[in-house]
Assembly symmetry: C2
Homo-oligomer: 519 residues x 2
């Protein structure tokens, strides 16, 4: 068991907890408070703006915050090209996860693209709003939101996001966002000029034919793969479904009020999915956490969110995607899976969710990054040095984990241990980023311990402090009583998907492989 797991809870009979609502609430609150209690509360005393605390470091959220202050770096750190060996596959073969499906990295990527937004021109800075505000769907700014809205006060159109019906390969029609490009992918529709354009990454720009399949989304990474576009499409449909119901139930409401109330409902609904699907997948707990906003109402960790530089690095889960993505039409190499929504437009939303749920993700950790992604690992090692991050062991101490005294405290894998020793000599010299990924995974979790601990702190303390979940806002006045019951009735991606596709099947929609058994 991990140190992350509260010892008190190991005595709790796992499955029984969820049968007793009161106990599920109590057990969840205990876990959440314990998890967040692994480190100090916000505000962070430091940001990337200066190496000491200043009024700007405490208030200017255009800079990333930091969990620990900058330190002097040793002169003799290993060359990043040597550190790369810790990530590269010795035999070229990919190891797969025994717990996660591809829905897990797809969800994680879409989630974190919304708030981990490091400014590419200055990695100390960020364009994040520091909240789960569904900006991949709604845009980062008021002006972008206005572009994405239909903006019509006509009956049957109020509160809607712009969308189109697309005819799939089987002839049925489904709702999608409008296409971003016109003229067969040659240029962006001027209507959408104010959106953040899709990020094309390091490789060559996609061809016009592929660009023609990209959607006008709020997020610059929401088109990055068909799985990301699938997440955003589900939320787009759910927004428009909520708007339609709100319009019908509140005939006096104008476009603006219908839109704002649908967004009010969708954000907590999504945060609920973050807890009940995503967090429950990554935790090694023998019971499922429940998403009860009240846990944060009196908590001393309920402080304004601020994304940290460390967080922007620990979520570099490059190695989680398998080398090939299996879709109804056949397998696609990972390198061709990006920036082309053809599979989604051919097969439809349900088929894509089913495909992501049907195949194992890769295993996170050492020696498992594809050769084509290794430059990203080197860049991360360099970024951590640019931030002058403290050592892996000092970050473990910071999150109340015992520091590694021997390399075998980090990993039981002899090859990883040997390479760490060769690179760093002693555990106290191991750097933050390589240390994060060299650690063995926690039993029953897809994540190593320090990553799991840091993700849990930020997931709970940033998601559950959303203003829409706060004590005097999370109520029927904000959502309507119908909207509140919609939030409360939504306990899985499956529920939301069922409401937004024409056919219902029994195929699993899951981040956890159906065959997975806890140790």
């Amino acid at each position: 068991m991990s140190e992350w797991l509260p010892k008190k809870l190991t005595a709790v009979a796992g499955a029984a907890v969820n049968d007793i609502p009161w106990l599920a609430h109590e057990a969840s609150s205990f876990v959440i408070n314990h998890a967040v209690g692994a480190t100090r509360t916000r505000p962070h005393p430091w940001s990337m703006v200066s190496e000491y605390t200043s009024w700007q470091s405490l208030t200017d959220r255009s800079y990333l915050a930091r969990h620990r202050p900058a330190v002097p770096l040793p002169d003799d750190l290993p060359d990043p090209d040597r550190v790369k060996m810790l990530f590269a596959r010795p035999d070229g073969r990919q190891r797969l996860s025994t717990k996660s499906t591809c829905l897990f990295p797809s969800f994680a990527q879409y989630l974190t693209d919304g708030f981990i937004r490091t400014d590419p021109s200055d990695p100390r800075k960020t364009t994040s709003n520091h909240e789960i505000d569904l900006c991949p769907l709604y845009g980062r700014t008021l002006a972008q939101t206005a572009i994405l809205r239909l903006g019509s006060n006509e009956a049957g159109e109020r509160g809607r996001l712009r969308s189109q019906k697309v005819r799939l390969a089987d002839g049925t029609k489904e709702e999608y966002a409008p296409f971003l490009y016109i003229d067969r992918g040659e240029r962006i529709d001027p209507v959408f000029a104010g959106l953040d354009p899709p990020l094309f990454g390091q490789g060559p720009a996609p061809s016009p034919a592929r660009r023609a399949t990209l959607f006008a989304f709020g997020g610059d990474r929401a088109n990055s793969t068909p799985f990301a576009a699938m997440m955003n499409t589900l939320l787009l449909r759910e927004h428009n479904r909520l708007a339609g119901e709100l319009e019908r139930r509140n005939p006096g409401w104008d476009d603006e009020r219908v839109f704002q109330t649908a967004r009010n409902i969708l954000i907590p609904m999504y945060i609920k999915l973050v807890v009940v699907e995503y967090i429950n997948h990554i935790t090694p707990l023998p019971f499922r956490l429940v998403a009860d906003p009240s846990v944060a109402w009196k908590a001393d960790w309920n402080r304004p969110n601020w994304i940290t530089g460390e967080f922007s690095l620990l979520y570099r889960w490059h190695s989680l995607m398998p080398d090939e993505i299996v879709l109804p039409g056949g397998a696609i190499p990972l390198g061709s899976f990006g920036l082309d929504n053809t599979p989604l437009l051919d097969h439809g939303l349900l088929a894509l969710f089913a495909a992501a749920s049907a195949q194992p993700a890769a295993a996170l950790g050492a020696f498992n990054t594809a050769a084509s992604l290794l430059p990203l690992e080197i860049a991360a090692v360099k970024q951590a040095r640019f931030y002058r991050l403290d050592t892996y062991n000092n970050y473990r101490r910071h999150f109340h984990l015992p520091p590694a005294r021997y390399f075998s405290d980090i990993t039981k894998d002899p090859a990883t241990e040997l390479l760490l020793k060769d690179l760093y000599g002693t555990p106290d010299r191991v750097e933050f980023y390589p240390g994060l990924f060299a650690e063995d995974r926690v039993v029953n979790s897809p994540l190593p311990n320090l990553i799991l601990t840091m993700v849990a702190v930020d997931a709970f303390s940033q998601a559950l402090t959303n203003p829409l979940l706060s004590e005097h806002v999370y109520n029927a006045a904000t959502f309507t009583s119908w909207g509140l019951s919609e939030i409360e009735a939504t306990n899985s991606l499956r529920t939301m998907l069922d409401r937004n596709v024409a056919t219902r099947t029994d195929v699993p929609i899951t981040m956890t492989q159906p065959s997975w058994q806890a140790d």
Copy 2:
């Protein structure tokens, strides 16, 4: 005694509390938590942007928040010109306060000008940073701060704000901010073009000779009277004194670090004065509250600040200034006291503080506003209607005060009661703004009950949640251990003033009249 005063405390033997540090801490914490507990915690569900909760209302702090939602206004509200009678002096004579000196309104005005910053072009909006950040001294923005800084890395100059030595009438020299205007007051020095220019208000612009006495300050209201300029000048000198000491004690520090650390120290020092001088003056408590940051560390009211529209109205304390200001050179009519720093430049900082401390303020309340200021009262009544504020009684309920059932619950003054009845018919129809000021003052406080309650909520919950006071920031790493001891040793305006003037005298520097006796 007021309902605001916790009954439990009336049993506490007043003066003895402050003799026992532990008890002073406990009693202060009790009062502060009780005071803030008079209403719900933030975030406010509503802002001035819409009449319902929306993502924008919860996140866009360029709009003022609101304590209560907008309500439909009755069609038959009294004409503002009739409401004006509630403020006008029936016999033209001003009533004076028996408790407060003019240092009280001077301090209040300077304090609130820093964060109650309603946008004159749209009263729903604000230019506030929503924090006590000393923006009247440092400017509202980074660019303004850069303009106000000396910006020199030379020894003896690091971390300083720009200043000049001015020769007083008696020949001595004192430190002041640079003059804002050049060419004998004809035009603003281009160096300072990026500052918010001084607000000249409704009247005619001041003559060039008067403009020539205005300082280059961060705040657009910090030149509004010589008493406001006096407050800012004291803080300017204290900043430069702190910077000088920090530079001397930390020879390796550059201009930037000295400046930022001096600001780090000055803000909590000022917040301490807000509690120990200002709040202690307005509360009717039989003991003095202590400013202990730890009271907010675990508090459920430690939530991001957000100035409300109600707050921007309740601080319209027009009637607090006496009709004549007595200065060493003679009395000046209030109408000539603004936008002319000649008295400060002639007599010096100590003489101005002594003058403000030597004369009674006026009494706050009905029938006491000078004729020249009545248009501001009418404007406030109209602004409250533009905000569609709820009734006075509903605001009393909102702050856990019993609503007035009879007009005599509002005031024992027969004339005020009669006029209220004539204007509104029944207590439930009394409007927010007139109700605030028609109330009798709380015994031993310069303020009526609803104002006192609302000021206490916002003073404690916004001042004590300053990021520099937070658990992991309020320490020697942020201030240096010398800086921390400077904060802790500063318990009065007098202490700070003594450090920054050449001569020491025994004249009182006080918001409370030396002859005042509690009932």
